[in-house]
Amino acid sequence: MTHLLSVEGLTKAYPGVVANDGVSFSIAPGEVHALLGENGAGKSTLVKMIYGLVKPDSGAMTLNGGAYAPAEPRAARAAGVAMVFQHFSLFDALSVAENIALGMENPPRPSDLSARIREVSHTYGLPLDPDRLVGELSAGERQRVEIIRCLLQDPKLLIMDEPTSVLTPQEVAILFETLRKLSAEGTAILYISHKLEEIRTLCDAATILRGGKVVATCIPRETTAREMAELMVGATLMTPKAAGAAPGEVLLSVEGLTLGAASMFGTRLQNVSLDLRAGEILGIGGVAGNGQDELLAALSGERRAPPGAVLFRGRPVGALGPTERRRLGICSAPEERLGHAAAPDMSLTENAVLTGTVRKRLAGRGFVDWTAARRFAEEVIAAFDVRTPGPANAARSLSGGNLQKFVIGREVLQAPDVLVVNQPTWGVDAAAAAAIRQALMDLAGKGAGVIVISQDLDELMEVADRFCALNGGRLSASRPTAGLTIEEIGLMLGGAHDMEVAHAEA
């Protein structure tokens, strides 16, 4: 079998860091090849070089036996390389057809394009209406837009960057059917992910990157997920352990909460009810954009609700703001690290003051006690192993995982009775994610109630005692996580409505 694409000794250095150091690997036509690695291992730099977004410092690529050095994505697309991005490649205010036209070299006329979109989406079992605005689509549908945009150009190599991170299990199954069909037709697929079980079911080969270098290659079907994880991290992994406290009294309850959408493409919360007991973790699953941000805002006090809709120890707190709620013992950490959970250009000390003032007494008579504030920031940095030169550094200068550890640590060390977190480990590497999960479980073990809102179902199954699903602004009844199967969760999440499996051949 000849290679479709081979990469020889690609090197790319940025000031202060070598993102890729002599990376070599190759893909055959029809092969599904996984690219594995932690955040910062150099996966995205590598695919950006293949897609022509970044120029390598040295090294060579060959495609179909000829030299391949795309100067820009246009050249890569012309050579038959297409890419499905994880973020940043769709335009909310434009229609599906316009989005697809933007990703094509010579798009046909709008009416022909709509017809072709319908045709391709039907062939691959990915239904899509060309005239809808992308901002109104679910995460799964948005991904279909990207995939169809690629498929319309008959790519020989399809690059997929973390394609399943926002999908429900049923949507993942449909995506895999589509990918297998493409692979059977001879399209090679370069698949980036850190979900190891998926890679084991889908991929033919895997290249593992760490610190910009290829550290191993393996056949995923013949390797265990744990082995692959340890190759990625370069160390043995520890699994978080629950303290196993019995749930106590009801700390926080929400009764029939209805709240309008916060933004143009937001979701309205409809009749949401839940109970949170002391010592337990309540996991709320669901694909982003189904009301997660609105729910966090309603629980944290950022958005006011009718007083009786949110009760803390039986006392109505719905009309209280975040500071009053913190004083009572309800802390929260929103999803967006830079700009919501932390002020990017302020130092860690200043960020510590922003939420810690009340509970840690960092201010008195209107003056900030900077000595105490610095001590609190240092305490968070030490307790949560935040890698930074010191508390005077700006929040922006920290890597995603480190800043997330700081943000979570800042709340946990305020010893809240109730902690609400949204996507606590989104975009965080495995070691930091494990540390954060452990901290949440320890907090619950000490008798606090924790609500974890997350898209990562594996994470919820690991940490949560009870699970409920948020779908279209409605919250399902909760079920104990013990004994819950991934299929049942998928159904709770609303499954994969309006989807059909591509060609049920099996």
Binding site: T45, K48, G52, L53, V54, E72, P73, R74, R77, F85, H87, F88, S89, L90, F91, D92, A93, L94, E98, A101, L102, G103, P107, M264
Partner: protein, 308 residues
């Protein structure tokens, strides 16, 4: 035909079209700039620079058309400063735009020192023959100078460009999400530079319309806030060309009407009449804003820095 205390509606409409043309031109240009995701607050400065450039060239050559051409060039050159500062050197768009307005006002005053009190050759009306003789309609539609028709054609052209052409789609995409546009391989900075220069040229034309047709003389600071009104109009029009036209004509209409009412000696304090165009425009703006969905380009005012 005489009503409203001696105000003829046909003449009123015809003169509101003339009064509105400067802000219409400037607002159309700014709308394209903002559609590309750039907020240029220097409209006022570019307008007045266009006004003096056009005036000088028209006086020296005797050709108002050449004057308009150089007004567009002058406005575009001034906007190029803004483009280089904000797009290449990543300076703050709000501060740079404000500086551009201050610079334009001062620079035009310097250029115009020898031209105060000079009379410029003005633009004649297009002779449309019998069409102009149609009662009422002829006065309203077929008795204007070429720039009024240019501004109306521009409304249609910009609408069609943004809606139907690939270049227009790319421009909207850049304004909507520059990261995504960059990831797809579009030249974000180049698109924005071109949009900025188009906006500058339009503002320059608007300014020259003031100094060559509307007034037609040169006075320092003669734009008198028209650039700011144009900026507000873009928001009020929800970034839609047709609504920019409606907004500009509304503002122009109230301006002309209140002037006529003043002349007719209406029993309303002059101060109230003078503020009415601003007041009414702001009221309409607030009313439309409360209806929610505005359609502001999502990347508006954000600097783009290709990190990779």
């Amino acid at each position: 035909m005489e009503m409203f205390g001696g105000i003829n509606p046909a003449v009123l409409i015809a003169s509101l079209m003339v009064a509105s043309t400067p802000i219409l031109l400037a607002a159309l240009g700014e709308m394209v700039v903002e559609k590309a995701g750039v907020l240029n607050l220097g409209v006022e400065g570019m307008m007045i620079t266009g006004a003096i450039c056009g005036f000088i060239v028209a006086v020296e050559t005797g050709s108002p058309l050449l004057g308009f051409l150089f007004a567009a060039v002058g406005g575009a050159l001034l906007s190029l400063i803004f483009g280089v500062l904000t797009q290449l050197l990543l300076s703050n768009q709000v501060a740079t735009g404000l500086a551009l307005t201050l610079f334009g006002l001062g620079f035009s005053a310097l250029l115009g020192q020898g031209y105060i009190g000079v009379k410029a050759p003005t633009l004649g009306r297009i002779d449309l023959g019998p069409l102009s003789d149609i009662p009422v309609l002829g006065r309203i539609l077929f008795s204007h100078d070429p720039m009024v028709y240019v501004s109306l054609a521009l409304v249609v052209a910009i609408w069609a460009f943004l809606r139907f052409t690939r270049a227009g789609l790319i421009l909207r995409a850049v304004g909507e999400s520059h990261e995504a546009a960059h990831a797809l391989g579009y030249k974000v900075i180049r698109v924005r530079m071109l949009a900025i220069m188009f906006g500058g040229a339009c503002a320059g034309l608007g300014g020259a319309y003031l100094s060559l047709v509307r007034v037609p003389q040169w006075t320092e600071g003669m734009t008198a806030g028209a650039g700011w009104i144009a900026l507000a109009l873009v928001v009020f029009a929800s970034w839609k060309a047709g609504r920019v036209l409606v907004g500009a004509y509304l503002f122009g209409g109230v301006t002309v009407l209140q002037l006529n009412l003043q002349a007719a000696g209406a029993k309303v304090p002059v101060e109230l009449l003078s503020m009415s165009p601003y007041l009414i425009t702001i009221l309409v703006l607030v009313l439309i804003s409360t209806r929610g969905a505005q359609g502001a380009p999502a990347s508006l005012g954000r600097s783009f820095n290709a990190s990779s």
